[in-house]
Amino acid sequence: MTTEVLKPPNTEVIEKGDVQDPAYLRIRDLVYQTSGIYHSEEKLYLLAAACKRRMAALGGPITTGRAYLDHLTNPLKREVENRELLNQITIGETCLFRSQAQLNALHNVILPEIAAERSKIGLKKLKVWSAGCSTGEEPHTLAMFLMEEQEKLLAGWTFEIQATDLNDNSIVTARAGIYGDYALRNTPDLFKRKYFVPADGTRLRVKDEVKAKITFNRLNLNDDSRMVFMKGMDLIFCCNVLIYFDSTSKKRVVQHFYSNLMPNGCFFLGQAESLFQVSDQFHLVHLPGTTVYRKPPAEALKVGKP
């Protein structure tokens, strides 16, 4: 099986303002409860579009929001349908430079803070983990972004990126680092010129010097015995992965992420995800246009909980 090329979801079917059916609000709340992925009023049309795509795929008598809600809550169907719906919700989200707000926050606030803190002890090394890296868009973005930082703020620093995914095929694709127009739609030209070489057709391949910064591995986030060896991380990214976990395993996985982070380390979720009722150890920190879950600084950890 080869990893499918994701196509842009067709969102034209549903206009903003056209989401009057209260069933979609119920579905929104249900999705939020089970997965932690939230659609604000402005984004509700995207959820409705995902539901419509599922209705079309089911092909049966389910044609309204209300009927789809019944299907989604049917004890015999809900597990499978929930997963299918989540696939539709996150489809096409995978691309390089997906969240500019996160990168801006790193560039302008988080990295300067880490740099200032570390310069006191002379440790100029950064450890990053892309957990659930899929076909490699995120770790490659981070590698290029940090290489740029090495020219200014992080001059003289080294960094390493651990990229893991459950799916072997995804890892193979990720290692190849070849991307088409759709995956590259947010990538600034500067980065395309500097960090890619032409592959086939219009596709581009990530340069070897970028790949050299990343270690790709297969990892099951539910594998406790391996999770404990991912220590000393400064930044962990886990976008649209936890949404597929049930509440118990989600709590366990997030606890691992917490333990593996350095004090003051940052845990990044997808833009629509939340850890509400999953962990109260992390601090939800606001930055311009984005939020991040932060492990408290070392001093706070000492005086805090026993």
């Binding site: 604000s40 939340s274 850890l275 601090h283 939800l284 932060r294």
Partner: protein
Amino acid sequence: MSSGLREGLKRRIERLQCLPSSPAVLQPLLELLRQPTNRINVKRVVQLVSYDKTIAAQCLRIANSPLYGRVRETDSIHAAVVSLGIHRVEDILLTCCLHQFSAGEQWATDPAVFWRHSLGCAAVSRELAERIDYSDPDRAYLSGLLHDLGILVNSLAYPQEYGAVLAAAAAKGVPLDEQELHDLEFTHCESGRILASLWKLPLAVNEVIAFHHHPAKAPAGNPVVALVHIADVLCRLRGLGYGYEEWRSVDLAGDPAWEILAKHCPQLGKMDLARFTMDLDAYVPRVQALVESVFTTKTEQPEVAPSH
């Protein structure tokens, strides 16, 4: 702030009071705001709104904005007062008055930015108040609307100097009050407070204006100061700020304001802040649309007869 500086500031603000554009409705409206709720006369409010044609038209446009959770299209002031409730009409009227007050004047900044932030903070303050079961969401709205009155004051009283302060804050990506303190030795909290006293605004609102950047210093017993502080920070980090990004990270639950507010409103401790934050993104386009439709003073081109 030195006493000399304070006197100079006060004189400039007193001069502002006599601005030619200051609407006639403003003084009676402020008078009205000082009344206890049960003594407010609906008929008098309708009269006030209808007094000034520009204000009446603006009021209707605001009343019909989705930000005010419009029940149905309203085309008469009386219907607006009835369907929105007296408090919301007061809010709307005051918004229009403040706009009129400053419309013809030379601003140090883009007035639309000020209005987006003020209306955004007002709406977010009310939303937050409702989520945490605070007893008076209308008070929260009014306080959010007026919290940055001092920016309007500084903008009009120091049109040249203040433009430079704003530009410097934007270039550095630092909070405005920091830059004000550095360049002017006072912040919009002080100047806002002086105008609020001259206008005899309710004390609780005055406290919000004076202490919204340092809610721990506010007199105890007024949780709206902390509430507006939180709404203000959220707005500034979520696209409804002063027109630039402030490069900082804020742990709201660790902010002293959070603790103060939680004491009054225990619901705050149970609130899903991540979800609330995402919900706020819906306000950005709504506030922008409202400001564009109502407050952006388009320079009307006089009709020129075609030349032959």
